[in-house]
């Protein structure tokens, strides 16, 4: 059985506690394969920002230093929405495909006057499965941490560069 992740999704798929390796199907689609069998099965689809980790500050500082004031380390993603969705289904003899859409940012949230948020799991016609918490949830903590990181990063850069210039001028003048 295959799970398809569309539009370069960055979700992780877990089956029985193990992360499934993803395979590229084409430019925009990746797939994960679940072992065949009988009875009920459950997969977990998780998306989490790096900044939601409890050691985020330590890692951020470490890579700020390694990346020479953070200039050469990859930026943290602006998209901090989290997903922790379970899909329960009964395995059948024939293959069963579950499709996972990367939902655009503006269609994830509850907005007055707009249609309800879109589920990240889209099943094919005729498929039956139970989905638990299939909606993206804004991770405010990760979003705040991203802003904090940017602020402290720039402050530290300005202070460090000013200090380097001061020391360079001081030692040049005084010999």
């Amino acid at each position: 059985m295959k799970i398809f992740l569309e539009n370069r999704s960055d979700e992780a798929v877990y089956y029985e506690g193990k992360r499934l390796p993803l395979k590229k199907e084409n430019k925009t689609t990746y797939s994960a394969e679940i072992p065949d069998g009988e009875g009920e099965a459950e997969i977990r689809i998780v998306r989490r920002s790096e900044l939601s980790d409890k050691f985020w500050a330590l890692f951020a500082l470490l890579f700020w230093v390694i990346g020479i004031m953070g200039f050469f380390t990859p930026r943290y993603s602006k998209d901090t929405d989290a997903l922790d969705c379970k899909v329960r289904f009964t395995r059948r003899a024939e293959p069963l495909y579950t499709l996972l859409d990367k939902v655009p940012l503006k269609r994830r949230k509850v907005v007055r006057g707009m249609p309800p948020p879109v589920s990240c799991v889209r099943l094919r016609v005729g498929e039956t499965a139970q989905t638990i918490e299939p909606l993206y949830v804004p991770d405010e903590r990760a979003a705040r941490r991203r802003k904090k990181y940017k602020l402290f990063s720039w402050l530290a850069r300005i202070v460090l560069i000013a200090l380097i210039i001061f020391l360079a001028v001081y030692f040049t003048v005084n010999g």
Partner: protein, 155 residues
């Protein structure tokens, strides 16, 4: 799952950082080659400059040569000597620095390639491996140019 995600993010970020840093070493490794190019360019431009002066002299039937200031313009040795001394200084520095740049740059490229190859996530995997491989190849090329030629340039 928490530990696995943490390890994934850490290795992904480390690989990305190392790839970017390795390109700094690539640029640094090409400095001696660029210095020699600058020397050649200055020689060519000096030749063009003298040619223009000669053309002006011919056009004025040599009358300009009566002017002492114009005759002084023909003295171009100082400029080339300055650039040559800069190239020699750069070469002396790089005799010690090139092995360091090569070692650090290549180790970062290899680390980035290994981390990308071990990823279960295919997104960005190929581009990172290709990018790191190109950076490693450029580093080796810069080292070959330096040890094979740039280091021995004498003017």
């Amino acid at each position: 799952m928490e530990n696995e995600m943490r390890l994934y993010y850490f290795s992904n970020r480390l690989g990305g950082t190392f790839l970017r840093l390795s390109w700094i070493f690539v640029i640094a490794a090409f400095v001696p080659a660029l210095a020699v190019l600058a020397l050649w360019a200055s020689a060519v431009l000096t030749g063009l400059y003298v040619l223009i002066l000669f053309a002006m002299t011919v056009v004025t039937l040599g009358m300009l040569l009566l002017n002492e200031d114009f005759r002084a313009l023909y003295d171009v040795g100082g400029g080339i000597e300055t650039i040559s001394s800069i190239v020699q200084s750069v070469n002396r520095f790089y005799i010690g620095a090139m092995p360091v740049f090569l070692a650090l740059g290549l180790s970062m490229c290899v680390t980035s390639i290994v981390l990308a190859a071990l990823r279960k996530e295919p997104k960005g995997k190929v581009s990172r491996i290709v990018g790191s491989s190109i950076a490693a190849a450029m580093l080796i090329l810069a080292a070959i140019i330096f040890y094979g030629y740039a280091m021995n340039v004498q003017v």
